[in-house]
Amino acid sequence: MTTIAITGPGSAADGLPVAPRALAFTARAAVPWLYLAPVLLILAVWVYLPLIEAFQLSFYKWNMLPTAPKTFVGLENYQRLMTLPDMRRALWNTLFYILGLLPLSVVLPLAVAILTQDLAGPLRNVYRTLIFLPMIVAPVVAAILWRWLLNEDHGLVNHALSGLGFDKIGFLIDRDYALGTLVWITGWKLIGFSTLLFSAANAGINRSYVEAARMDGASAWQIIRDIRLPLLSPTILLITMMTILFGAQWSFVYINVLTNGGPLKSTTNVFFLLWEYGFETLAAGLSSAAGMIVFTGFALIAFICLKLMRRYSFHDN
């Protein structure tokens, strides 16, 4: 269909009435590229070229001052990363962020979506509007309001805890709680949004499957396990993949605003480490080397995830 339009009589109207054939041909071939130019230019200048530059920088030592020279150090940055404990700890913490987020972004929303599928009536929209709200709240605002709610001496949560007879908890200053607290704040924004995604997918399931199974005497749990979950698998895998790929990035703001990686580095993840190396210790080479490891790692994970999604998603044809 497209080719018809390109070679059809209409294409003479492309603005080149009497140009020689060859020239007209190249000009016509250039047209799509003109339309694509703005997007490609911006992505090239601000994403792909910087990616290449970061790759180059990872072999240099440089303190980011424009006047300071860059010295070539080969693989030294990578070797240092392997020996410094920072990177290992940051990688472990990254894993904890992701594993901690999955219950909040997948398990709980999925359970709620299935549990509340029969919900009807005017209240349904009210709930929708309310539970989605955290998603549009700015991360900085979320950080600030949770900092207040979780304040050790005067926060609402600790008020409630001491009212119930528990000890107060230093959510953001106790190293045993800080990481979990940041996971919760990151997840707080996602719960309602994920629930709505699962609800929409669940509502899209053809009712006749469920009715047929019910007539065959399937129990409620069997219906969920053998019909709903397989049919929801594309959405489950999608949200799981998003959480794995971006979960640690979403928590960056909270680390930066609330804990600065502490206490005792307990909340540092790889994305915060990149920032710390780059803009706090001004070790551009080290930051870039760590960046390359992170990028390669997540690109690999994305590739595997997409493969898995293609293989294990169950589609209702």
Binding site: M1, G10, P50, E53, M64, L133, V140, W146, M242
Partner: protein, 288 residues
């Protein structure tokens, strides 16, 4: 058969003492009410605290005993709040407009023509969301410095003037646009430029609107890039203003909550007016 069962179930009068049914209903609503509270209470508490006078700030009563604008006055005195809000509106509106514009052009090229490397281009655009910003931030920062973009709104907008998800959303919308209409216009001698702006774009209004809302909110909430570029508070956006205010006056809880409320107000108003569209556009675009 299915219909019969459904009809029978609907027709069956609910017995007044159907305990199982009632408790199931209660459990449903209980779950949703709990979830709603988890979502809304923190935001409500922010607004409530912002209205408490200093002597009432640590109270845990649900509503301030004597609401006062004191905290807001303090914020407006110590922060160039309106200036920052205006900066943010300009930045977010420009980002959204440019993402729609560049997205329309690219999506038109990708749906309209089959050309060499179009598959590669498509992949390059889609894969750009896989590159974490923290990985490219140093070269980006160096480039922005060299171009004199530090501490400017232009610097905040330009790198975000194109977005993969904008191209992909518009690409999907355009793909379902009826080809016959375009072919007919071509037969009438219309040029591509005119077809895009006078035929395709007006018909994609819904997709464009939802994309624009999404891009506006994302840009409004953007934190990391402004953090790198900002120098003076009066040239920065509200997110940075908030962060600076917290760093300086971290324990003035009332004022901090007032500042956070002011920074969220425009987004909350948009949400109240367009909630259905906002929810749908977020759901369509996935999580990033």
């Amino acid at each position: 058969m299915t219909i019969d069962i459904e009809a029978a179930r609907a027709a069956a009068p609910a017995r007044p003492f159907d305990v199982r049914r009632l408790s199931r209903k209660a459990a449903l609503h209980g779950t949703m009410i709990l979830l709603s509270l988890v979502a809304v209470l923190p935001i409500y508490w922010m607004v409530a605290t912002s209205l408490r006078p200093a002597n009432d700030i640590f109270s845990s009563s649900l509503w301030p005993s004597a609401p006062s604008p004191e905290n807001y006055r303090l914020v407006l005195e110590s922060l160039p709040m309106f200036r920052m809000l205006a900066n943010t509106v300009v930045m977010a509106a420009a980002t959204a407009a440019l993402q729609v514009l560049t997205g329309l052009l690219a999506a038109y090229a990708l749906t309209r023509w089959r050309f060499r490397f179009s598959g590669t281009v498509h992949a390059l655009i889609a894969l750009s969301w896989l590159v974490p910003f923290q990985v490219t931030m140093i070269p980006n920062y160096v480039l922005a410095t060299r171009l004199g973009l530090l501490d400017t709104l232009t610097g905040l907008v330009v790198p975000n003037a194109a977005a993969a998800f904008a191209v992909l959303i518009l690409y999907n919308a355009m793909k379902s646009f009826p080809r016959e209409v375009i072919e007919a216009a071509r037969m009438d001698g219309a040029k591509h430029w005119r077809i895009l702006w006078e035929i395709v774009t007006p018909n994609l209004r819904a997709a464009i609107a939802s994309l624009a809302v999404l891009a506006f909110i994302s840009a409004w909430n953007e934190y990391f890039w402004p953090l790198l570029l900002s120098r003076k508070i009066e040239n920065s956006v509200v997110q940075i203003g908030l962060q600076m205010f917290m760093a300086q006056e971290g324990n003035l809880w009332g004022a901090l909550m007032a500042a956070a409320t002011l920074a969220s107000l425009p987004i909350l108003v948009i949400y109240l007016i367009l909630q259905r569209q906002v929810i749908e556009s977020f759901m369509k675009s996935g999580l990033k």
